[in-house]
């Protein structure tokens, strides 16, 4: 690896102040620190540091997302084959390959647009590039329907990165989850590509892989349940619990498979990157709210969905594991995390049941709770402040 190090050291002067490639300094810095751990040593304070850094934390989240993404890719192909009625004659590999081909451009668009903006801002502010978008960039294509056009995805990504993150000061300073803002942007600006029944299943063949299905429609399980007693899959048959757990049903690309998400959750909890307090209380909130509706609204079909089905359908698990636990936008105090998580779970089910227009509530619930987080933390911290003030008055 010495030659690579030497080569980087050789070209480095070009990017420094006065070098002819100075305009690309942040890009060079980004790649250099990506390749080699910087050799800066402690100047003040502690002389030794823990080996953990934000690059490793962010890449752990990306690794945790991989199972959900791989199953999501397979599911794209599987739903396409179901819609065309050719499941028996299609190999699992070609289904996966089809999903990969559908997914790759989306991931590329998200990263190119997002990182492009990040590099530009880093260059402009004369800062090092921050890693936050590594995670947002993979989350964004995973939480949109397969039928979302690339240009809308690009627009949403740009909007989210600029207005949800950079204007607040970059990674670590944002109030709301960047990936969810991208989804919310699509939800409000282009509702037709994120709702209804024509965007959840891919219907066009790519390079001869996958089937062309004309005029095919299929809504998500939650949409079916909002209108009737049963969730219907892409083949026209009712979805089984097994389908729901494996994620073989229409939905946003990464959110369908509970089992794959659980694998990611285990990694995040084990490494301590995500807080178990937040995750746990999201589920508690969801269960509490769905039980409440089940007993109080007997005539509403979606209120009658059993609580465990609420948890495994739609974006509930994905949101609980990967979105609610975003350390920057979630509550930062330990007590606050319980309140914040419970709020998300309860609010998600509340929106699902009481919002007639759109039967999914996870995105809006998390965004809403993101906004209330500073208040929750304020109350928790204020109790410490009050205790200190009380100690002082008691003394005097």
């Amino acid at each position: 690896m010495k030659f690579l190090r030497n080569y980087i050291d050789k070209i480095k002067p070009n990017f420094e102040e006065g070098g002819k490639l100075h305009a690309f300094r942040s890009l060079f810095d980004g790649f250099e620190t990506f390749l080699f751990v910087p050799n800066d040593t402690a100047k003040s304070g502690v002389n030794i540091h823990d080996a953990i850094d934000s690059k490793r934390i962010m890449s752990l989240v990306v690794i945790a997302l991989l199972p959900a993404m791989l199953v999501g890719m397979y599911n794209i192909g599987y739903q396409n084959a179901l819609a065309a009625g050719v499941v028996e004659t299609t190999t699992w590999f070609s289904m996966f390959l089809y999903g990969l081909l559908v997914m790759l451009p989306k991931i590329a668009v998200s990263y190119i647009v997002g990182l492009g903006i990040e590099f530009t801002v880093a260059q402009w502010k004369n800062e090092e590039i921050h890693e936050g978008f590594l995670v947002s960039g993979i989350l964004i294509p995973m939480i949109v329907p397969v039928g979302c056009p690339l240009w809308i995805l690009a627009l949403a990504t740009a909007f989210a990165v600029i207005f949800a993150k950079e204007v607040f000061g970059g990674t670590g300073m944002n109030i709301v989850n960047v990936a969810l803002i991208a989804r919310a942007f699509i939800f409000f600006a282009y509702p037709s590509v994120i709702s209804g029944d024509s965007v959840w299943v891919a219907t066009e063949s790519i390079f001869g892989i996958g089937a062309n299905v004309d005029g095919y429609t299929c809504a998500t399980a939650l949409q079916h349940l909002a209108n009737g007693p049963e969730a219907i899959g892409a083949s026209g048959a009712a979805l089984t619990t097994c389908d729901m757990l494996w994620g073989l049903m229409p939905g946003s690309i990464g959110e369908t498979s509970v089992i794959a998400i659980a694998l990611g959750a285990v990694l995040l909890l084990w490494t301590g990157v995500a807080s178990w307090k937040t995750m746990f209380s999201v589920f508690v909130g969801g269960i509490a709210m769905s039980l409440l509706f089940q007993y109080t609204m007997p005539e509403n079909p979606i209120a009658q969905v059993p609580f465990w089905q609420h948890l495994i359908l739609g974006g509930f698990c994905f949101g609980a594991v990967f979105m609610a636990t975003d350390p920057v936008t979630s509550a930062r105090t330990e007590v606050g995390k319980y309140i914040y998580g419970f709020g998300i779970g309860a609010m998600a089910i509340l929106i699902r049941v009481l919002n007639p227009g759109y039967p999914e509530g996870m995105m809006l619930a998390i965004l809403l709770m993101n906004v209330t987080t500073p208040f929750i933390d304020y109350c928790v911290v204020q109790s410490n402040v009050n205790a200190r003030a009380k100690r002082l008055t008691k003394k005097n």
């Binding site: 751990v37 050799n39 304070g45 502690v46 002389n47 540091h49 953990i52 890449s59 670590g172 490494t271």
Partner: protein, 449 residues
């Protein structure tokens, strides 16, 4: 029986090169220096010129704002240099030892018959008051204040720290006299560790002893204050190092200024880490001569790995330092894709590394920061290693934004930079927390005083 306080939050970092309980004799150093930067808040006024003859206990510089606060020569000899830096700031006053180690003579006194003012006056005159620090602000104490209490921590829980019981051996009487002297000024609180067995500590008189159990920072005096009687706004408590208490005892028992410390040479790059008798301010070169490994580029630290300052072998032992630590500067200068590699040999509190598998293993950690500085991203990182009843993250944010009211409300009066050393170590955003806290304290003091 003494009160026992259990501390659960914290972290013991298992580093290679802990000093073993043995004394290694080293030659006495030729040069000694006193560095004004060690005495936080003091603006020095140098009162000697090069070539002046001094004895141990003769002032080298005094506090400009408070000239009775003297900073004295640790040895007898002649002043060889007054080193100045930018804007003529005094960096150090260097004394060349004459090898006689003569001290200014004082009368031995029975401290328990003295008044508070008499003790203070004697300490000021002998230059020992210079070791008294105060909370809030973690600065050198002002002799005209009346503190609520004086806190002494008799153990250091930092990684590779010295074992005070070794320094105490043979100095038990002086230690008790020192505590007696302090108890004339204000009630003295002695914090000891559950592992300490020395009777001089367990049955120390004229003090309130508390036993602290738990990982670092249990030995930090700030944590001990917070766990027993936290500092409120408007209150002042003084703190002093356990070895400095022995200096005070020597003054009253023997009538001499004797700054002989038991200093540890520790760290992964030291052959046979152990203790030596060294006089405060000694040039480090004589202590480390022939005792360092030369495989790696070295970082010589004046003090502990968590709180000490980077220096060189030509540097001097700081006024408050009880150890010299030597670690590698950079272990691997081409650490390819370090953020993704398993990095089996590296220590981390994060389970994304594998050091949790071998909790007993001793680690060699180099001085690299191992990551770029970021905004605060992860939550609950600091809280896990910060046992005080304070929200460290919020306090740091209040300091960064310069919000004086918030700093006060969140408890800045109770903390010192060293209390944030562990937070700084574990921080994945690599913020310089000790520097931030120091700046916050300075800003607040400028505002309030």
């Amino acid at each position: 029986m003494h009160r026992v306080v259990k501390i659960s939050k914290g972290l013991n970092i298992n580093l290679k090169g802990a000093p073993v309980a043995e004394m290694t004799s080293v030659d006495a150093a030729k040069l000694y220096a006193l560095m004004p930067a060690d005495f936080t808040r003091v603006t020095p006024k140098v009162v000697v010129k090069p070539e002046d003859a001094v004895k141990a206990g003769d002032p080298l510089f005094v506090d400009k704002a408070n000239p009775e606060l003297q900073f004295v020569s640790p040895v007898s000899g002649k002043v060889v240099a007054v080193n100045r830096g930018e804007r003529r700031r005094v960096l150090s006053v260097v004394v060349e030892s004459d090898g006689k180690f003569e001290s200014v003579e004082y009368k031995a006194k029975d401290v328990l018959s003295l008044s508070s003012d008499e003790v203070k006056a004697d300490l000021l005159k002998a230059g020992l008051f210079a070791f008294m620090r105060q909370r809030p602000y973690d600065v050198i104490a002002n002799p005209s204040d009346a503190p609520r209490a004086i806190y002494v921590s008799a153990f250091d829980s930092k990684p590779l720290a010295v074992n005070f019981e070794i320094a105490l051996k043979g100095n038990e009487d002086d230690f008790q006299t020192g505590l007696d002297a302090l108890s004339r000024i204000a009630p003295v609180h002695l914090g000891i560790c559950a592992c300490q067995k020395s009777t001089a500590l367990l049955v120390a008189k004229n003090v309130t002893t508390t036993i602290f159990k738990g990982p670092h920072p249990a030995g930090n005096v700030g944590v001990q204050i917070n766990k027993t009687a936290p500092v409120n706004k408007g209150e002042i408590v003084w703190t002093i190092g356990a070895e400095e208490v022995i200096f005070i005892g020597r003054l009253f028992n023997k009538g001499k200024v004797d700054f002989t410390r038991t200093v540890a040479l520790a760290g992964s790059e030291v052959k046979n880490p152990s203790y030596s008798k060294v006089i405060l301010g000694a040039q480090i070169s004589t202590l480390v001569e022939g005792r360092l490994e030369n495989k790696n580029e070295l970082r010589v630290i004046d003090g502990n790995v968590l709180t000490g300052k980077k220096t060189t072998t030509d540097g001097f032992l700081g006024a408050f330092s009880t150890e010299i630590t030597v670690i590698p500067e950079i272990l691997n200068d081409a650490d390819l894709l370090g953020w993704a590699a398993p990095r089996f040999g590296m220590y981390s509190t994060s389970r994304s590394y594998f050091s949790w598998l071998a909790p007993k293993r001793e680690y060699t950690i180099d001085a690299r920061i191992k990551g770029g500085e970021r905004h605060m991203i992860m939550s609950n990182e600091y809280d896990k290693v910060f046992p005080m009843d304070i929200y460290p993250e919020y306090l740091i944010k209040a300091i960064i934004t310069g919000n004086i009211d918030k700093m006060e409300q969140l408890g800045i009066y109770e903390v010192a930079p060293e209390d944030f050393a562990l937070c700084e170590f574990v921080d994945s955003s690599k913020l310089e927390l000790q520097r931030i806290v120091r700046e916050g304290l300075d800003k607040l003091r400028a505002e309030m005083c």
